[in-house]
Amino acid sequence: MLRIEQGLVDQMVAHCRADHPDEACGVIAGPVGSDSPERFIPMVNAARSPTFYEFDSADLLRLYRDMDERDEEPVVIYHSHTATEAYPSRTDIAYASEPLAHYVLVSTRESGSSDGPYELRSFTIVDGVVTEESIDLFD
């Protein structure tokens, strides 16, 4: 289960809407071992693509150094699908490399950049196996 503050969900959705029709991506870091997402870190999609995302390699190094110094880990790794459902694609599964993270998918296909319905689902991806999990929101 992913337990997450509503405000962080709102920030993820706002980022995904702002970058629509390209995919948006980012991390919510939290203290190592806490399983608690706390620090919202929107990232640039270096691929600037509606069908692919990738953190820029220099940004990636800075992000991990910064988390290391703060004793944090990526608790949530999120990205959007802008034309398909909020479910991990084959490439998402192939490149998933954080077995402890919650992979959050946001689909903006229905409302695009505007306010309106969106899908948001959370998964773990371990050794190519996708498992959907429930989301417990709190204020």
């Binding site: 990738e54 953190f55 190094l61 694609s89 490439t91 490149y95 077995p99 402890l100």
Partner: protein, 90 residues
């Protein structure tokens, strides 16, 4: 040359859970071969027949080795190497 190599979470099963290991070599290719000699299987996760795997980033100090000389990048004493899987998908 002895260098420190930072190992990402997903590869720590190969290093007995260690996040920092020491390896030797004058080039990145030699360092990876030395890593593999002590932690069998690690090399396969980093390189394939065409060189560094597309979705593995290796940094020498602050620089992605793709912008240096790739596997031929020279390593000096006191250098540090960081391995990070790309965060990517579709």
């Amino acid at each position: 040359m002895a260098v420190e190599v930072r190992i990402p979470t997903i590869l720590r099963p190969y290093t007995g859970g260690e996040k920092l290991v020491i390896a030797e070599g004058a080039t990145l290719a030699e360092v990876i071969a030395d890593l593999d000699a002590h932690h069998p299987g690690l090399s396969d996760r980093l390189i394939d027949d065409s060189g560094l795997r597309r979705f593995v980033n290796v940094y020498l100090n602050d620089e992605d080795v793709r912008f240096l000389d790739g596997l031929a990048t020279g390593i000096a004493d006191q250098d540090s190497i960081t391995i990070l899987p790309a965060v990517a998908g579709g």
